[in-house]
């Protein structure tokens, strides 16, 4: 099995707020991330696909195709967007790194038909990221 990884970057804004909590609790749990007008990040997304190279093309999947899928499913949805208000899949959820990574996994997994989605790693900053794997897969 071979793993191939493609990286993209997008910029988006978000805020952390749970309407079921009081303003004080929101502030205590989420700190500055609860500021009402939100703030933004340059997100870096690494998508890893696992598979056997095709004997004719030598490819697990055509990177151009993966690039197109990422453009359509992620960039188009999330780049230069306010994640809380403009991304339907995140409606009603706190757009943490964990939740955004999970949504990206759920968007990509059915679209990747050559090879198998192995890992989604989303960096919110150089020091904070979330990884998604298929349950039971080895990292």
């Amino acid at each position: 099995m071979v793993l191939i990884t493609r990286k993209i970057e997008f910029s988006a804004s978000h805020l952390y707020h749970n309407p079921a909590l009081s303003p004080e609790e929101n502030r205590r749990v989420f700190g500055k991330c609860n500021n009402p007008h939100g703030h933004g990040h340059n997100y870096t997304l690494e998508v890893t696909v696992a598979g056997e190279p095709d004997p004719v093309t030598g490819m697990v999947l055509d990177l151009k195709e993966l690039k197109d899928i990422l453009e359509r499913e992620v960039m188009h949805r999330m780049d230069h967007r306010f994640l809380n208000y403009e991304v339907a899949e995140l409606k009603g959820q706190i757009p943490t790194c964990e939740n955004i990574a999970r949504v990206i996994w759920e968007l990509l997994d059915p679209k990747i038909t050559q090879g198998k989605l192995h890992r989604v790693r989303l960096y919110e900053s150089a020091d904070l990221f979330a990884d998604c794997y298929r349950n039971g897969a080895t990292c």
Partner: protein, 137 residues
């Protein structure tokens, strides 16, 4: 089949060490550890990367609150190792060579008790060219 989600976080600390063991002769220490056996030690800017898994709490969207994780790592690792001599200041390395392999194991042992998620692995980068990982036994 579901998804497994891990939260990854990086921390930095600087420390000195000397690779040397009393169980070997000075010649053997010099042969095995080379410059790393120089008597007064030397230092590195270590980068620690940890991964914690768990369920996402629907109320917060988080596996673990970063403030809780950061304060735990600060107390258990950064305050213990940062700007210290690993050989002289950390009890675990009085008898054990403070290679980065052993440092990974020591950090894993210190962090595995994090109460709000499961510690999956630690990765320690000693320089930009060397990194080490440990995920428990």
């Amino acid at each position: 089949m579901g998804i497994k989600i891990e939260l990854g976080r990086r921390y930095r600390f600087a420390a000195s060490h000397r690779l040397h063991t009393d169980r070997l002769s000075e010649e053997e220490n010099a042969r095995i550890f080379g410059k790393c056996a120089n008597p007064y030690g030397h230092g590195h800017n270590y980068v620690l990367e940890i991964s914690v898994s768990g369920e996402i709490d629907p109320a917060t969207g988080m596996i673990a609150n970063l403030a809780d994780l950061d304060s735990f790592v600060q107390r258990e690792v950064i305050e213990v190792f940062d700007c210290r001599s690993l050989n002289e200041d950390v009890a675990a390395f009085r008898k054990t060579v403070p290679t980065t392999e052993n440092l990974c194991i020591e950090i894993f042992e210190r962090l595995k008790g994090f109460p709000k998620g499961k510690l999956e692995r630690v990765r320690v980068q000693e320089t930009t060219n060397n990194s080490f990982e440990y995920a428990g036994k």
